[in-house]
Amino acid sequence: MAAASRSESIKLWFRKSLPFWLIMPTVIVLLIVQVYPAFYTAWLSFQERTREGWQYVGFENFERMFAAGIFEESIGHTVNFLVGYTIITLSLGFIIAFLLKSSGKLSGLYITLLFIPWIIADIIAGLVFRILVVPEYGLFNNILGNPNLFPPDGLSILTAIRPTPWFGSFPFPPSPAMIYLIMASSWRALPFVTLLILAALQTIPSEVVESAKIDGANYLQLTRYITVPLILPAMVVALFNLILGGMNGVGMVFSLTGGGPGTTTYVLSYYLYTLGWARLEFGQAAALAIMIAIVNWLLIAGVLRTTRVTERSI
């Protein structure tokens, strides 16, 4: 009797704990590839590497980072990049998705063609965009170098100096290289955003649209009150993706401009790369990584709050 009840209780325990064991491998993987590196980075941000090994330096890495002139400047460049990159990509993605949805013919072909940028590595895409504007022999040089189009001496993207800032030291308007970098990055991210929005557009129930039309809604009203609210969750997902990709991506900057000309495209992610990988200042790089992570969280929280999109509605 006792043995039977024990066997029952073991079975019950096993049944109850089964989900725990099933998700255990995933939890272990997450602990190894996400949680441990995050804690290690936090630990690293208070250390400095010496010949003898790691040495605790308190908040010195943060102090040094804030004191570096390029830090403040790179924040400005990052803001420029993020704003330009997200607005251009989202707007174009929205327009292209709309066009693709409304024209059924050949949309499969268009989507296939549209996906080409997405399958190219950003380093390669950056190199190709760079070659297009190389002074002297770049493919676009005849246009860009034309003084009538770009007075007084034409435009050399990779060497053009930054315009005089309008707001103190904040780097606005952005340099031609920054604008070009934004365009190249948007070009690459566009397929993903377009497809995301297109998928959302296709889930809008036709009954809702028909009802609105019967009620006399015009095209603009349909878009404003039906389409946009219904695809907003997808737009927010796209926005998250763009913000995180824009904040953390370094490949395109590395291969297209290398932070230059001068420091005009020196964004935070490139600064992080330089600190960690070129100067091997691991402690400072970790401190900057923590700052970037905090900014990422704040941006995401801000977007969620502004758009009032909750997990439930997504």
Binding site: T50, R51, E52, T159, G260, P261, G262, R279, L280
Partner: protein
């Protein structure tokens, strides 16, 4: 699970087991050697304990057999691992690193033949601009590091600070070739603590490659003469010079033409006490001069574009001169001379041929009256990383490189400089027009490493180059003293 799946799973498991067992082959070798050593010990004991002559004979035969078996088993070649920026498997004649690639292609079999049965040289190619960072990361993470790594002297502080390379002084001083090493080359490999962190093999000074037809009277000796010549060339539609003026690659431009110019004007980057010092009148005068040449359009725009695009203007002779490292001949090709002669092998031979033909001449940087021309200098050598597994092979390799037969091959190939072994320069390999020209060009100048006493060279180079770029290109009206003072303050505050 159905039967088919079970069979597939079983086969996969057996395959995995087989792979695991074969991967443990190395351990089997070790076990076999240990077993044979035990047998040898037994045979030795039996020989020692033998009473009769017959016993002794049998024991000696057993001993000989055991020794032979052990020798045969010990003949397993040890892997000797290097990290070079070259790749012996890359046979692309258009590769930027074709000279180094070819060098390795020839050297690896030679080394392996010389050490047959002992070492097997395996090279792992690495990107030149991330090789040392990878080394540091590998040392910190406890991963496999090479037994020997190609080392540029400018990387010594970074690798030493991170505990990535070994102090070789005590070993090196016992070697015959050590006394023959150029003192300045040894100094370049010496850390601030006095340790010797690389063995110098090639010294690479900076000089100016000049198209003779564009400068029929030779490259100017003074800045004033240069401005006159530059104005003349501009009228002819030719840029006076081209150089690496970009901020890319962590400000490496600070070690190139910019340093040659500033040091020729008598300026410096450090105060001799580890601080950044850019506000001397001489340094400011050099930057004022450079700013003027840029404003007058004496250089192509590619100078500031990065990616070594500036070299193209020298290759097609649209620029008259290019100040760069002696090693530049490896990369600046193919060439078309102003008179139309094409040097188009697409290898380092192009520049050597152009020099031999007199189309290209080598010269030193110009300097104001009463000042000795300066230039940059760095050393190419080899380091042994901390954690290298095969120290004996590493020592053997460095010793092999220092032989009369091997040393010129490296120096003339990827080393692309002067031999650090002073007596080596007398050998016939170096009796070519290129070295004669370079020797004459450099005889009138003093070449020094750009970093002087600066410890954080990466930060210094970036700050210097960002400042110079801002002053000469971005904001030519900015006050030089103010911009340089800001850079000094930032560097010196962190040191």
């Amino acid at each position: 699970m159905n039967k088919k799946l079970k069979v597939i799973f079983s086969i996969l498991l057996v395959a995995l087991f087989a792979v695991t067992v074969s991967a443990c082959g190395g351990a089997d070798d070790v076990a076999m050697v240990a077993e044979l050593e035990a047998k040898l010990a037994e045979a030795e004991a039996a020989a020692a304990a033998a009473v009769s002559a017959e016993d002794l004979e049998a024991a000696q035969a057993a001993l000989a057999d055991a020794q032979a078996a052990l020798d045969a088993a010990s003949m397993v070649e040890e892997e000797f691992l290097t990290w070079y920026q070259y790749d012996e498997t890359n046979e692309d004649p258009a590769s930027d690193e074709r000279v180094g690639n070819e060098y390795l292609r020839n050297s690896i079999p030679e080394f392996n033949a010389a050490y047959e049965g002992t070492y097997n040289w395996v090279n792992r190619p690495k990107a030149w601009d991330t090789m040392y960072q990878e080394l540091v990361a590998a040392v910190i993470a406890g991963n496999t590091v090479p037994d020997v790594i190609e080392m540029g002297s400018q990387w010594i502080p970074l690798t030493v600070k991170n505990g990535a390379v070994q102090d070789l002084r005590s070993w090196a001083e016992q070697q015959e070739w050590f006394a023959d090493l150029d003192a300045s080359a040894v100094a370049s490999c010496t850390g601030l603590d006095g340790g010797l962190y690389c063995i110098p093999v090639a010294i690479r000074p900076h000089l100016v490659y000049v198209w003779a037809d564009h400068y029929p009277d030779g490259f100017p000796d003074t800045p004033e003469e240069f401005m006159t010549e530059a104005a003349r060339l501009k009228e002819e539609g030719v840029y006076a010079w081209t150089y690496f003026g970009s901020t890319a690659y962590g400000g490496s431009g600070a070690s190139r033409m910019v340093w040659s110019l500033i040091s020729s004007f008598g300026g410096e980057y450090d105060d001799g006490d580890g601080n950044l010092y850019l506000t001397s009148p001489e340094t400011i005068a050099a930057v004022e001069f450079l700013r003027e040449t840029v404003a007058l359009g004496y250089n192509p725009e590619t100078v500031f574009a990065g990616g070594f695009l500036e070299e193209d203007s020298f290759k097609d002779a649209s620029a008259g001169a290019i100040p760069t490292g002696l090693f530049g001949y490896r990369y600046i090709n193919p060439l078309t001379a102003p008179n139309g002669t094409a040097y188009a092998k697409g290898s380092s031979d192009d520049m050597l041929d152009a020099i031999a033909a007199g189309d290209v001449i080598l010269d030193h940087m110009f300097a104001p009256e009463g000042t000795t021309p300066g230039c940059g200098n760095d050393v190419a050598g080899f380091s042994i990383p901390v954690g290298a597994r095969n120290l004996e092979a590493a020592y053997a390799y460095i010793g092999w490189l220092m032989t009369e037969e091997q040393n010129p091959k490296f120096v003339l190939g990827p080393g692309a400089g002067y031999p650090a072994l002073t007596t080596m320069l007398d050998s016939e390999e170096f009796a070519i027009p290129f070295y004669q020209e370079a020797g004459e060009a450099l005889s009138g100048s003093v070449c020094t490493p750009y970093y002087g006493t600066l410890e954080n060279r990466e930060l210094a180079a970036e700050l210097i180059m960002n400042s110079v770029y801002k002053l000469v290109k971005e904001d030519p009206t900015a006050d030089i003293f103010t911009v340089f003072s800001e850079a000094e303050a930032e560097y010196n505050a962190g040191n």
